[in-house]
């Protein structure tokens, strides 16, 4: 018989080892799944994890790594703060969409004017839009005690319908020959978010992600706020005695993560995505939750986790092209990864002892 014995404090070695173990286990489980679907498992794993970086088409796919990791990291940084405090923003996808719409709306309102203030104004609008969308569940929880989990998630569906309406209605390109979708912001220079160094995939959103990583590291490990957040997550009652106002923390965490998700949406709308369409929300908001957990809610981990999940997106697309693998296999892969991360976490909190 095996018995679980709680550890007095989480084991640091296992905290680093478990994400690695989870990734390996996901590769094995994914390989079994691919084999069951009739694909060569080793070729599939190589196509997803090796070829985008070192394969023949790597010249095209390598820059995509930063393009995809940027929004994931930016969103995950905000989410990790809240998750540490036990505040569950699972509606980042909605905040991402609203941020994208607000930022793009600023650009479309100024079209075809010139001015270097346009792009900064768009960033501010994106952040404010996402923040406002994130504050709705925060305020409803603070005022009425409504679950922020359910409200933030419901608002994703509302945001998806708003994008559909926007791309068919108010933000539709008047010169788009009747097709839904806004003007392409990549063709409107003062509002575009271009690649900053050719061939790297680096754009302003990636820069913002870097800043967000440093900022969250500072907040979590060097600022009193990080201490409050950690205390509130570990021992809510003790936190209240230490002078933490829970309602303030809820508003702060949801507002901050909403602002970051909104910015991610804006950078996508002005850059790689280029326009607001019906399907503007692409699931980054949900995948970022996996990034946050894979990174154990720590900035360094989030950086690595963001890069890894970006790799699964690119590798998944490649596998779709070259092996005709179903598009959803990446989603399955990401879901399994989260299962394994959560499951293996038991090793950090418990010691496994054999008893006779």
């Amino acid at each position: 018989m095996l018995r679980l014995e709680p550890r007095a404090s989480a084991s640091l070695g296992w905290q680093i080892a478990t994400p690695v173990l989870a990734v390996l286990a996901t590769m094995i489980a994914g390989g079994i799944l691919f084999a069951a679907l009739g694909f060569d498992p080793l070729a599939a794993i190589r196509t997803i994890f090796w070829d985008p970086l070192f394969g023949t088409a790597a010249g095209y796919s390598r820059p995509q790594l930063l393009v995809k990791a940027g929004p994931l990291i930016l969103i995950a940084c905000g989410l990790a703060l809240g998750f540490r405090a036990g505040i569950w923003n699972i509606g980042a996808e909605g905040q991402y969409i609203i941020g994208g719409i607000c930022g793009a709306a600023v650009a479309l309102a100024t079209y075809p004017n010139e001015g270097i203030w346009i792009f900064p104004a768009m960033i501010a609008a994106g952040a404010l839009g996402g923040m406002a969308w994130g504050l709705i569940p925060a305020l409803l929880r603070n005022w009425f005690g409504a679950s922020e989990i359910l409200v933030s998630l419901m608002l994703v569906y509302v945001a998806q319908r708003i994008t559909a309406w926007m791309s068919f209605g108010p933000l539709k390109n008047p010169e788009g020959f009747g097709f839904p979708g806004s003007r392409n912001l990549q063709q409107y220079e003062p509002a575009s978010n271009p690649e900053l160094i050719a061939g790297t995939g680096l754009h302003w959103g990636v820069v913002a992600a870097g800043v967000a990583l440093i900022a969250t590291w500072f907040i979590v490990s060097r600022h009193i706020l990080g201490f409050h957040i950690r205390t509130a997550g570990a021992a809510p009652r003790a936190a209240r005695f230490a002078g933490v106002k829970p309602s303030w923390l809820v508003a702060l965490c949801l507002g901050f993560s909403g602002a970051l998700a909104g910015m991610a949406g804006l950078f996508e709308a002005a850059g790689p995505g280029g326009q607001i369409t019906e399907n503007f929300g692409s699931g980054y908001g949900f995948t970022a939750i996996i990034v946050a957990f894979l990174g154990r809610l720590h900035p360094v981990g989030i950086l690595l986790g963001g890069l890894l999940l970006a790799l699964t997106y690119i590798g998944g697309e490649l596998a779709q092209l070259t092996m005709q693998m179903p598009a959803a296999s990446v989603q399955v892969f990401q879901g399994m990864l989260l299962f394994f991360i959560l499951g293996f976490d038991i090793l950090t909190r418990f010691r496994i002892r054999r008893v006779r």
Binding site: L4, P6, L37, W88, I90, L140, W143, F144, G145, A146, S147, I149, L150, V151, L153, M154, L155, Y157, V158, R161, I162, A164, W165, F168, G169, F286, I289, I290, F293, P326, A327, A328, S329, V330, Q331, V332, F333, Q334, G335, M336, L338, F339, L342, G343, D345, I346, R349, F350
Partner: protein, 295 residues
């Protein structure tokens, strides 16, 4: 213009998936388990049910397969949350993401095919609607009048006390999760087999999350779940009727109604619990807390 009886019959249909899923989740939550994977279990039921009904030509076999499929995927959650003591919020979310991906992958061959037609029961309502209505008093009786239900509630209220009394906390919770999975599977299959009559990716469209909100609305009472499901069904039917009547509001905005109504209901019921004086109807004491027996 709108005939009340036909609206009510449509409402019963629109409410059925939510009713099944929320009754299942209600039992799991009364046992102290917060499973946020309802959406994932529903979509698995929707595909398993559709595939079986399509292959066999029998809707009944479809629903059976849906219950099995929903249970099967719920057991992943049971294993992780009860044996590996994972965080229930994150695990439920993982179940939803996994279920949506898995069904999108395996559902591809079924796109564009049709489900066999549902046989009608009494009063022109199909058997699943009746089964959902019968399940309400049955679940109520089980929770409030049976010995097993009493034990299940004890486990949910205070798992340490229940454990000290010698009840198998983990086993009871695994069974409650499995029941929740089966019911969510049936609810999901109702959408694919009886409402939409075909399979499309992500077709449950948040119904699982709405069911979770209905459980809060019900104050963990099956009768409340029926009221909540009907309320939701009413909003859905009204919204569809307004669309059909060609109201000058864009379709995309009208289709937000069920989600906004869910938020509104959640706020109202939470406010009543926060400011009201009624003592009953609080969440189960051990809801969402992992249980680890040291002895």
């Amino acid at each position: 213009m709108i005939d009340p009886l036909s609206v009510f019959l449509m409402l019963l249909g629109a409410a059925t998936p939510i009713l099944f899923a929320s009754l299942g989740e209600l039992v799991a939550e009364r046992a102290g388990v917060l499973n946020l994977g309802v959406e994932g279990m529903m979509i698995c039921g929707a595909l398993a049910g559709f595939a079986a009904a399509h292959a066999s030509g029998s809707p009944a076999l479809g629903f059976l397969a849906a219950a099995v499929g929903g249970t099967a995927i719920s057991l992943i959650f049971a294993g992780l949350s009860q044996y590996l003591l994972t965080n229930q919020v994150a695990t439920g979310l993982a179940l939803t993401l996994f279920g949506l991906g898995l069904t999108a992958m395996f559902g591809k061959p079924y796109e564009g095919t049709k489900a066999p037609s549902m046989p009608m029961g009494p009063l022109g309502l199909n058997w699943m609607i009746w089964l959902g209505l019968i399940a309400v008093p049955l679940v109520w009786w089980f929770l409030n009048r049976s010995r097993a239900g009493l034990v299940l509630r004890a486990v949910g209220e205070n798992h340490d006390a229940a454990h000290a009394l010698g009840y198998p906390v983990r086993r009871i919770r695994v069974l409650a999760i499995a029941f929740g999975g089966a019911m969510a599977g049936l609810g999901g299959a109702y959408i694919s087999i009886a409402t939409v009559l075909q399979w499309t990716e992500g077709m449950t469209a948040g119904a699982g999350w709405i069911a979770l909100a209905i459980v809060v609305f019900s104050r963990w009472d099956p009768r409340g779940a029926l009221a909540g499901a009907w309320l939701f069904g009413g909003v859905t039917v009204l919204q569809l009727r307004l669309q059909a009547a060609g109201v000058s509001v864009p379709v995309q905005l009208l289709s937000m109604a069920p989600y906004l109504a869910t938020i509104l209901v959640l706020v109202l019921i939470s406010a009543q619990q926060k400011f009201g004086r009624s003592a009953g109807g609080a969440a189960p004491g051990s809801l969402g807390r992992p249980f680890h027996a040291l002895r």
